[in-house]
């Protein structure tokens, strides 16, 4: 039926459609955001093709550049001119390409914009390689050969490179282990010894003997380390840049070498897997702009676990007290409203509280009482893992209380009364029937608390998170779990790498990946909480009837 304009307006249909538009826009934004993060975060690990472009300026010799085309945009010529860029005088719009040219130690910056009309040719030479390094970013060029102790290596460089890179990785691992774990352990022991010496709790002779032993161990380790370093520096890689410069790269610095243009899809998938694994399981390189985020994942998880250990019992006890023991009345409901509202208090306020109360007040007092030998170097009187966990526990305890209370409310009266009528005490009723039935609710609360804690950044900036922690808070040195150490956190990693990094352009893909990881963790936790809650509701809706 065709509606007349008046009837159409009168029916309110345009308004309804507008409201529908609002929901649609919200949905578009929600899914657009998720797709944006996922696309950018996942694409980073795929080996991009290396393009060889010939950059031709009007009156100059053509410049040959190798690199990955990262971005392509059309901008108004006026903007480029205003920003100080070179544009042909008659152009109104310019198409330009952002190319990751790498070779930072040769050319200066590793990202360059090229105007599309100035690019004469674009080809994808199959022998172009990407050399990933420990520092200074990627190299783009062609491999010419290998050298061992300065002498050229005979034979096919590709097979040689594979074996030599394997040797390099093994050596690199050994060096890392010696440097971090073994020398670290000796240093740790020496530090403890120094403190004991200061506190005069051990006889001087014992200290001297122990010190001599440790110093001998240290000497030995440094000798082995020097030997390994000499070994790893044996090989080097000869390569040529697109411009024709010949360079020699020590293999010690090379992480991997690949020729993306010649890679079949299967190899690309394998490469993708390796990179993805590296991202999750490795330490960051180059001021956090390359490598992995393992310490950040580890720090986030450990912090959340400690927080859960604190928040669960206290949250549950408080909820049980409010629901089962406190006398119902205006005071209890005022407390309930207050607890509810504390969940809405800005997290930065909790950070301020944690910083002042936990770190300086409690931590400072602990230092005075138990770690006086170390002063003025603070032990607990400085931001660290414990204080972060406690601050977030305080931040999330309202969430657990609210969820647990909701669960307790849903348990039908009949169950309690039945238990009491059979002669059980109140404690037995709670312990044997009510609390077990409310477990899913507690789980929901805990999961929501964990999800919230994992995503919080603002309070952590004040109470213990750092951009690069020298050591994990859990290691092989007594007492194994170092609650006083600072740690890395996924959320803070995003903030730090995205906004404090000197090379934002290079760091951006990694930030997207980190964001994606965080989104996946938090979304899964929330979805789990929702499923548990729904199951709980169904269960007791059945019980009530």
């Amino acid at each position: 039926m065709r509606a007349s304009f008046n009837r159409w307006v009168g029916s309110g249909s345009p308004w309804v459609w507008i409201t529908a538009g609002a929901v649609s826009l919200s949905l578009v934004m929600v899914f657009g955001l998720l797709i944006l993060i996922a696309a950018n975060g996942l694409a980073h690990f795929w080996p991009a093709r290396v393009a060889l472009i010939e950059h031709q300026l009007p009156d100059a010799a053509p410049e040959r550049v190798l690199g990955e085309i990262v971005d392509r945009e059309t901008v108004a010529a006026a903007r480029v001119r205003d920003a100080g860029g070179q544009v042909p005088a008659d152009a109104t719009v310019v198409e330009r390409l952002l190319i990751k040219v790498g070779n930072r130690d040769i050319g200066g910056s590793d990202f360059r914009w090229f105007a599309a009309p100035e690019i004469a040719t674009t080809t994808y030479p199959p022998d172009a390689v990407v050399i990933e390094r420990d520092e200074w970013g990627n190299l783009y060029g062609y491999v010419k050969g290998l050298r061992e102790a300065g002498e050229p290596v005979a034979g096919d460089w590709q097979t040689e490179l594979v074996t030599r890179l394997e040797r390099r990785h093994a050596l690199h691992e050994t060096i890392e282990r010696i440097q971090k774990d073994e020398i670290g352990a000796v240093n740790y022991a020496l530090e403890r010894l120094r403190l004991r010496e200061r506190a005069k709790s051990t006889g001087e002779e014992d200290v001297a003997a122990e010190k001599a032993r440790l110093e001998a161990a240290y000497e030995e380790l440094t000798t082995t380390l020097a030997a390994r370093v000499a070994e790893i520096e044996r090989d080097s890689l000869l390569f040529v840049t697109a411009a024709g410069d010949e360079r020699e790269v020590p293999l010690a610095k090379v992480v991997r070498v690949y020729a993306p243009n010649a890679m079949p899809v299967t190899r690309k998938i394998a490469h993708y897997g390796t990179k993805l694994w590296e991202f999750v399981a490795d330490e960051p390189r180059e001021a956090n702009t390359e490598g992995g985020v393992f310490p950040a994942i580890f720090g986030t998880v450990l912090m959340v676990i400690i927080m859960s250990i604190v928040v669960t019992p206290f949250g549950v006890i408080a909820a049980v007290y409010l629901r089962e023991y406190a006398r119902p009345g205006p005071v209890t409901s005022a407390i309930r409203i207050a607890v509810n509202n504390l969940a809405g208090v800005p997290s930065v306020v909790y950070g301020v509280f944690g910083f002042g109360f936990f770190v300086y007040f409690v931590g400072g007092s602990i230092d005075q009482a138990f770690f006086a030998d170390k002063l003025p170097t603070p032990t607990f009187g400085t931001p660290g893992l414990l204080w972060s966990s406690l601050t977030l526990a305080l931040l999330t305890v309202p969430v657990v209380i609210v969820a647990t209370e909701e669960g307790l409310t849903r348990i039908p009266r009949a169950i309690r009364e039945g238990s009491l009528a059979l002669g059980a005490t109140k404690a037995e009723t709670l312990w044997r029937t009510v609390l077990p039935m409310a477990t899913p609710a507690m789980m929901t609360g805990l999961i929501l608390a964990v999800a919230r804690a994992a995503g919080e950044v603002a309070p952590l900036m004040m109470v213990g998170v750092v951009k690069l922690a020298p050591a994990l808070p859990l290691d092989g040195n007594f007492p194994y779990l170092h609650l006083d150490r600072k740690f890395m956190h996924l959320g803070f990693h995003i903030y730090d790498v995205g906004f404090q990094s000197p090379n934002v352009e290079a760091a951006r893909p990694l930030v997207y990946s980190t964001a994606l990881l965080l989104v996946i963790i938090i979304m899964s936790l929330n979805l789990a909480a929702i499923r548990i809650r729904n199951r709980l509701r169904e269960k007791y809706n059945g019980a009530e009837t």
Binding site: R2, F5, W8, S11, G12, S13, V16, W17, T19, A20, G21, A22, V23, S24, S26, L27, V28, V30, F31, L33, L36, T74, A78, D82, T92, F314, G315, I317, V320, Y321, Y325, I335, I337, V339, L342, V345, P346, V348, V349, G351, V352, F353, G356, L394, P398, I401, T425, K426, A427, R452, E456, V457, M462, I494, F499, V511, L518, V519, I522, M523
Partner: protein
């Protein structure tokens, strides 16, 4: 019967029953103690914040500690940094270093070279820095008390001494000889400037600089002195003052101050002469405030006025009255400025003492010292000790507690006229690289930033969230609702650091290049939906049946995506046609608007995104919970679904929607990472949507880790946190109470 029953209960069972009762008790106690502990812990947050903030507003306290006797012919007194050693100069030039605790003499000697006599009344005795001793024959001797601190055997030991920064030989500072009536001194790295007025009112200025070309070790360092005439005054100056940078000279004669520019040491220039007190009032003391920019003028009414040079429209400096302090009733006898802070003490002829701070406009203390006729005041540089001495040498020492004089309600929230500024302003500037910097703690620009952020966020979020809630709760198909509602709600859990990152690094550059697109999308999208609705209504029934009411989303979502794409695609051509290809620059040249890449528009969208789920979820619940009999009744009376919605459902659910907006507001006010990452964080106060701001929360997150514990800055940041706490708590409580009332009302319906 009952006997029989009891007989069956064995002893063991009784014991067991007792144990069960004990367990029950223990359980109850544990729950009670645990529950109350948690609640107390949460309450502690508030009280701890309050406890840290409280000292900011405490007044100063002054407690007399002990009296000692100093020489009756006392001409000058100053204290070392901790206030434990006094430096005393007598009228004849004898100096003594005296222990402040018991008056024991540590070192003594004479400051006056042999054969010379000291004109004590003419000398420049200052609390800090070198003293200029006026000698006979127009000569000046310059000395500085120094305190060498060492820690032999971990005991703090002070060894006081006298140094002569420009040599022991007295300097001739009057161009034509004669006797000095008044002298002033200021010295910087190598240079020293001395102004002197002779008994006839002739004003001269001497500049002392190291002799050129001689870079020898300190003992051989020689100085060159050049003397210029400045002015001929009718009478000798009452007070002479040179600022620490040796740029300005102030000459006080009677009720007037002559303001001289002495930047060029060869040609001092009179800038202006200002009457600083009304007729009938006498100037009694003039001192520099710490930093040497402001003059403190005490008068016979008991007022102390602060004057400093202010740049006027013509770019000339004029000595301007900035503020006055009127806590004393009797003529001011002495003014003594603090060393580090912009505070000072003043005492009147009756021995009534007042402590002030200039920029916070606080009178921190006003008390009778109990000693009349005080002629000298001294404050230790750390402002922990104050000494008042009468003309006959009776000295009373006070312990001074004055932790945070620079904070007051007016300095936190009002406009403050800081030194070097043209007018009173709101300024937040907590730290600076320069040394003699006065921190400026106005919370107004930060609060303004927070409100601005919340305003733009709600401006964006409220319409979308509420309209969306209306559709979801009332028009949407239940099956679709089961998917759509959680999808939007789950976004509340999205870490804001991710939103902030996307806003700062993805959205901000995108908006900058597609500004036209963004604004046209805001216009085109609703229009296209309405047009679509009309077009849809024209289609034959058969087509309409394909997408029944309640599933309009299936049409609208693709429509919006296409519209978004189109608006973004035409953005640049439009900009090219009408705005010269660069809209931000066009805005600048045409309207003088500055465009920051990370601006309020970006924050509004990003933070709007963050609060949409909260507002949406709560208002949807409120609308959905409206009792069915109301809507069915309305529909039965012939209202269309939309009329029912607008006139019945919305009205009933409005308190719930209100509480949803309050909760969204609370979240927007406290949000930290988004505002931190997607604005420039400069504390400007500007309503423009194209400029950034600095919000309270971001400011706390940035500055807290760097602030010194228990400093004023630290406590002011706690105050900012307390403000956030109270504001959000208030919003949430109002929302919660409204919601609870609504629930009861629905229950009654």
């Amino acid at each position: 019967m009952s006997d029989a029953l009891f007989s069956e209960v064995t002893k063991a069972e009784l014991a067991h029953r007792g144990w069960r009762m004990v367990k029950d008790r223990i359980f109850g106690v544990v729950m009670g103690v645990g529950g109350v502990t948690v609640i107390i812990a949460l309450v502690t947050i508030f009280f701890y914040l309050l406890w840290v903030v409280f000292p900011l507003f405490k007044s100063a306290t002054l407690a007399p500690t002990h009296d000692i006797r100093l020489p009756a012919t006392l001409a000058h007194l100053s204290l070392n940094e901790h206030g434990d050693v006094m430096f005393v100069v007598e009228a004849d030039g004898t100096y003594r270093f005296v222990s402040a605790a018991d008056g024991a003499e540590l070192k003594t000697g004479s400051l006056v070279p042999e054969g010379a006599t000291l004109q004590a009344g003419a000398s420049a005795f200052r609390s800090h820095g070198p003293l200029a001793l006026a000698l006979d024959g127009g000569r000046v001797s310059i000395v500085t008390p120094v305190y060498r601190v060492s820690f032999p055997n971990d005991v703090r030991t002070i060894e006081p001494d006298i140094s002569h920064p420009v040599g022991t030989e007295p300097l001739e500072v009057l161009s034509a000889g004669g006797e000095i009536a008044r002298v002033a001194i200021a010295s910087g790295d190598d240079n020293t400037t001395i102004a002197a007025s002779d008994v006839n009112g002739r004003l001269t200025m001497a500049h002392v600089a190291p002799a050129e070309g001689l870079m020898l070790d300190e003992e051989d360092l020689s100085f060159e002195t050049s003397v210029v005439d400045v002015a001929a005054l009718p009478a000798p100056a009452d007070h002479l003052l040179i600022d620490v940078d040796q740029q300005e000279l102030y000459v006080v004669t009677g009720r007037e101050i002559g303001f001289y520019n002495i930047r060029d040491k060869e040609k001092p220039k009179l800038v202006e002469t200002v009457q600083v007190v009304p007729p009938g009032v006498d100037v009694t003391d003039v001192q520099f405030l710490a930093g040497g920019t402001s003059l403190l003028v005490g008068d016979s009414r008991g007022h102390v006025a602060q004057w400093f040079p202010v740049r006027d429209e013509a770019n000339n400096f004029r000595l301007t009255l900035v503020r006055e302090f009127k806590a004393l009733d009797k003529p001011v006898r002495r003014i003594e400025p603090e060393y580090f802070r912009k505070g000072f003490a003043a005492i009147d002829v009756d021995g009534h003492l007042a402590l002030y701070h200039t920029t916070s406009e606080r009178t921190l203390l006003s008390t009778a010292t109990g000693i009349a006729g005080v002629s000298t005041l001294a404050i230790s540089p750390r402002a922990e000790t104050l000494v008042a001495v009468t003309a006959d040498g009776a000295a009373r020492q006070f312990a001074l507690h004055n932790e945070h004089p620079e904070v007051s309600l007016s300095s936190l929230w009002g406009k403050v006229w800081y030194e070097g500024r043209a007018q009173p302003e709101f300024i937040w500037q907590s730290s600076s690289a320069s040394n003699d910097f006065e921190p400026k703690f106005s919370l107004t620009p930060l609060t303004f930033g927070t409100i601005k952020a919340a305003f733009y966020a709600l401006f964006f979020a409220v319409p979308l969230a509420i309209l969306g809630a209306i559709y979801t709760a009332y028009f949407m198909h239940p099956k679709m609702r089961a998917v759509v509602k959680p999808s939007i709600e789950i976004m509340a859990a999205l870490p804001t650091v991710i939103l902030g990152f996307l806003a700062g690094l993805w959205l901000a550059p995108l908006i900058e290049t597609h500004l036209i697109g963004v604004f046209s999308a805001m216009l085109v999208m609703p229009l296209s939906v309405v047009v679509m609705s009309w077009v849809w209504a024209q289609l034959p029934d058969g087509v309409q049946r394909l997408i029944p009411p309640g599933r309009e989303l299936l049409l609208i979502v693709p429509l919006l995506i296409v519209m978004l794409w189109i608006t973004m695609a035409v953005s640049q051509p439009i900009e090219q046609l009408f705005f010269g290809g660069n809209l931000p620059r066009w805005l600048g040249t045409e309207f003088g608007m500055t465009y920051d890449q990370r601006n309020s528009l970006v924050v509004g969208i990003a933070m709007g995104f963050a609060v949409i789920p909260n507002i949406y979820s709560i208002s949807e619940d409120a609308i959905f919970a409206v009792p069915r009999q109301l809507t069915t009744g309305s529909l039965a009376l012939g209202a269309t679904p939309w009329q029912t919605m607008a006139r019945v459902v919305l009205l009933t659910a409005s308190p719930g929607i209100f509480s949803a907006v309050m909760i969204g507001l609370g979240r927007a006010v406290g949000e930290t990472m988004i505002v931190l990452m997607s604005t420039g964080n400069t504390p400007v106060m500007d309503l423009s949507i194209f400029q950034g701001f600095r919000a309270l929360s971001a400011n706390i997150a940035v500055e807290m880790p760097e602030s010194e514990v228990n400093s004023t800055h630290y406590r002011v940041l706690f105050l900012a946190a307390l403000v956030l706490f109270l504001v959000t708590f208030l919003f949430n409580t109002v929302a919660e109470i409204v919601r609870q009332r609504l629930r009861t009302r629905y229950g009654n319906l």
